[in-house]
């Protein structure tokens, strides 16, 4: 702020070109609940990575390059049980396929951006940053890339830093569970979900997805839970939408809707 004091006048005149930092900080503030959730999980990851035989540098490197909590935990388990690199990489692919859905779903907010910017921003797509992005940036409106960058970068920095601290210490720091910190991310997902339920069809999609995810999570196929539940439930929603639109437009194939024009 201080270094920009001289350009206060100019800033008033050209609102859109100045204030990159302001935009970035606005995005960074959206990351607060993500950071609260990431710190204890990152610490736990660092500790577990050490126990599964990774050095602090190796554990941190994985957070720097992969930035995907569940895949990193699974990789630790596989490494300590002596799995091959090919096994770890293919499991990672399976667990992280859901990112393709996130990436596609962010298109309506990010498609106006250049390819290099998209290439950088897409590195920061996680369950959590995706959830906040769809909750905070309206669909079908071009999002400001600096705000998305602020959200993604601060979340990433929190993940890498807490992984490093956990790996460097190699033992659990305090008892976060007593403070309920482990519930930060489930609570965040609950709120983000509530914000997305904007119609009856959306509510039905949520119920179908939730039920399916729970059903699959209780089987050995749990790595597929998010992907399967999302694909099926979104298809149900899209089919219902189309059915309703057809009835409204007076197409044959369904009973006439009374309140339709």
């Amino acid at each position: 702020m201080g270094s920009e004091a001289g350009s206060m006048m100019a800033r008033g005149r050209k609102r859109n070109t100045s204030g990159s930092l302001v935009r970035f900080v606005r995005g960074a503030r959206l990351a607060v609940p993500v950071v609260v959730g990431y710190v204890p999980i990152g610490l736990a990851y660092g500790v577990i990575a050490r126990h599964s035989g990774l050095s602090p540098a190796e554990a941190t490197l994985m957070s720097v390059l992969v930035f995907a909590g569940s895949a990193q935990f699974i990789a630790c388990g596989l490494v300590s049980s002596g799995a091959t690199a090919v096994g770890v990489v293919s499991t990672t692919l399976l667990v992280n396929l859901r990112h393709m859905l996130f990436s596609m779903s962010l298109l309506s907010r990010l498609r106006h951006l250049s390819r290099p910017v998209l290439a950088v921003l897409s590195f920061g797509i996680t369950d959590e940053t995706f959830g906040v992005a769809v909750g905070r940036f309206p669909a079908d409106e071009p999002a400001d890339w600096r705000e998305v960058a602020g959200l993604n970068f601060v979340s990433y920095a929190a993940w890498v830093a807490s992984s490093f601290v956990g790996a460097a210490l190699g033992s659990t720091v305090g008892d976060g569970a007593r403070l309920g910190i482990d519930f930060a991310l489930p609570a965040m997902f609950i709120c983000l979900l509530v914000m997305q339920v904007s119609s009856r069809v959306a509510l039905l999609v949520a119920v179908v997805a939730g039920a399916l995810a729970v059903a699959v999570a209780a089987t050995p196929l749990r790595a597929w839970a998010t992907v399967v539940a999302t694909i099926v439930a979104a298809s149900v929603g899209a089919a219902l939408d189309r059915h309703r639109a057809e009835r409204r437009d007076g197409h044959p194939g369904g009973p006439a809707e009374r309140r339709g024009s």
Partner: protein, 115 residues
Amino acid sequence: MSVRAAIIAMVVGMFAVTYLSRAVPLLALSRKQMPAWLRTWLSYVAVAVLASLAAPSVLVADGKLALHSGNVYLMASVPTLIVAARTRSLLLSVVVGMLCVMILRALGIGAGAGC
């Protein structure tokens, strides 16, 4: 600080498959006109993803369905849901949720479980 070549190879492989699954859809489809059905379908992806992340996190414990009062997450999700619906504030929902879990654990409910 030891870093073994085999671990680097594994981590780089993990990076490659994860990054590609994040970047390819955005980069490949950003300049294409999407058909209407795909746009409708994608409009339901966000709500479906969030439900499929939220539901197992509160309804499943230790790989099993846990619909009982000993499930701290399930109990705490009720006030969290109410606060979320009333305020639509992420931070307030997170704080209320954490407080509920803290209080429930202090009361000795779900001791040792819930994670």
